[in-house]
Symmetry: C2
């Protein structure tokens, strides 16, 4: 019995050409059946409002609590944690586009090298240099040991001129240097899926994730005990099904989800 | 039966105040007994000639083949490897002070992003930025996969203004990003000890390492099957002996080595 659904965004609900056919009616039908859903995406370059605007264009009403990215997840995590431990001031190593999402929190001064209760590492891109990596290390190695959050574990991305490192390698460097393991908020991290489940308010055995990425969406969610649907859109490749474990269901696209849910019930 | 000896340099043979008392006569006595010895040090900021000059000041005759650092080890490793596989051109990410040691080899142009058969990562310090890390990643992810050498695994060092990352974290970032595990040449890497044994020409069970660092010198060498002597000079602390495994012998200083060797024979 599926009581809540997590959707990947890119390649599942939307791609470079616009919405995936049937995506809007799928979301609308879930809402009309009072089945809660969330969008769970690894993007840190777009604020949640960007996805809300796209949904609005599709005729889907949603609010910011329905979008879970490493950035929104980190804010949810900080609120949870703040009930037990101080989390501020926060040292932010993120791109300017992500910085505004944290403006309600008490942030450490941009060049400060001490006093952080939380260190958040994102994709600083050109901003990463020897001085900034050292600053993150110095903040992490002070007492009391601050919380250490990595906004994802992505290894690199393909720019026009070649590969560029993403947040994962910098988090790996700082983990190696400091000896402190980061809490990774981004698929396929268990901490990220756990936050999505907490936001959904449904226990894991009743939650389905719908994704196009066999590793990050499907295998990652299986590790956390979720049910899984792989769609044949986006980055799906036939070879994705060649090695176990298989998803619970493979759908041609998100358009087939409602029928499958009805049949499964 | 000890047939060859490896010495750590700093804190064992020499410290900030000059030579450790008895160090010169210890080395001279080994030479007179035809027991080969090598100095095995993790420094990459000083060329081997620096240590040779210091030894000369101490009245000890030595040549460059007796100094094994990550830099000299990488050159020995490259010569070994070149018999089977092309190793040039080499992409060097090292400080200027180390660059001259590689001048006999065919080096990739400083900004080139393809064509390396070997990528060598050292302590580039201020030279590390987003562009240089991306360049290393791009070189590592081309076909054929280049050799990947890290000149040590040190996490950081203490500068006047705080901690600064060393080669280890950058190597960890590039390993995470590329999926390629580097060959680490520096204590306590097994590949580094293996090169030291090959240079010494003595089988491991007959080799003694003399060091002041319980982790890097003693435990690292034990993993490789060497005999081990911990000296109570340099960075030695009484707490070093609180957890196993213990070294084969603990000496007040290198000055006691000859007597111990004579007694052991």
């Amino acid at each position: 019995m599926i009581k809540g659904v997590l959707f990947d965004w890119g390649g599942v609900l939307h791609d470079d050409n616009g919405p995936i056919a049937g995506a809007a009616s799928c979301l609308q039908q879930l809402s009309s059946q009072n089945i809660p859903w969330r969008i769970i995406s690894n993007t840190t370059s777009k604020p949640p409002q960007y996805l809300l605007d796209k949904l609005d264009d599709m005729g889907v009403q949603a609010d910011a609590t329905q979008i879970l990215t490493p950035i929104t997840a980190s804010q949810f995590w900080l609120r949870q944690q703040a009930r037990r431990n101080p989390v501020e001031p926060i040292a932010l190593f993120v791109a300017d586009s992500a910085r505004s999402s944290f403006q309600a929190l008490s942030l450490l001064a941009p060049q400060a090298e001490k006093g952080a209760r939380t260190v958040i590492i994102g994709d600083l891109a050109e901003g990463w240099n020897y001085q900034q990596i050292n600053r993150a290390l110095r903040l992490l190695t002070q007492q009391p040991t601050p919380h250490f959050i990595a906004l994802g574990a992505t290894r690199y991305w393909q720019a026009a001129d070649g590969l560029r490192i993403d947040v994962g390698p910098i988090a790996a460097a700082l983990e190696y240097a400091s000896g402190i393991k980061p809490i990774t908020l981004g698929k396929p991290s268990p901490a990220f899926f756990a936050l999505a489940l907490a936001q959904l308010g449904v226990s894991k055995e009743h939650v389905l994730i719908v994704g196009d990425d066999i590793e990050s969406d499907i295998h990652g969610a299986q590790q956390c005990g979720l049910q899984t649907a792989l769609v044949r859109t986006g980055k799906f490749q036939a070879t994705d099904l060649q090695k176990p474990p298989a998803p619970d269901v493979v759908l041609d696209s998100v358009a087939d989800l409602s029928d499958w849910l009805d049949a499964a019930h």
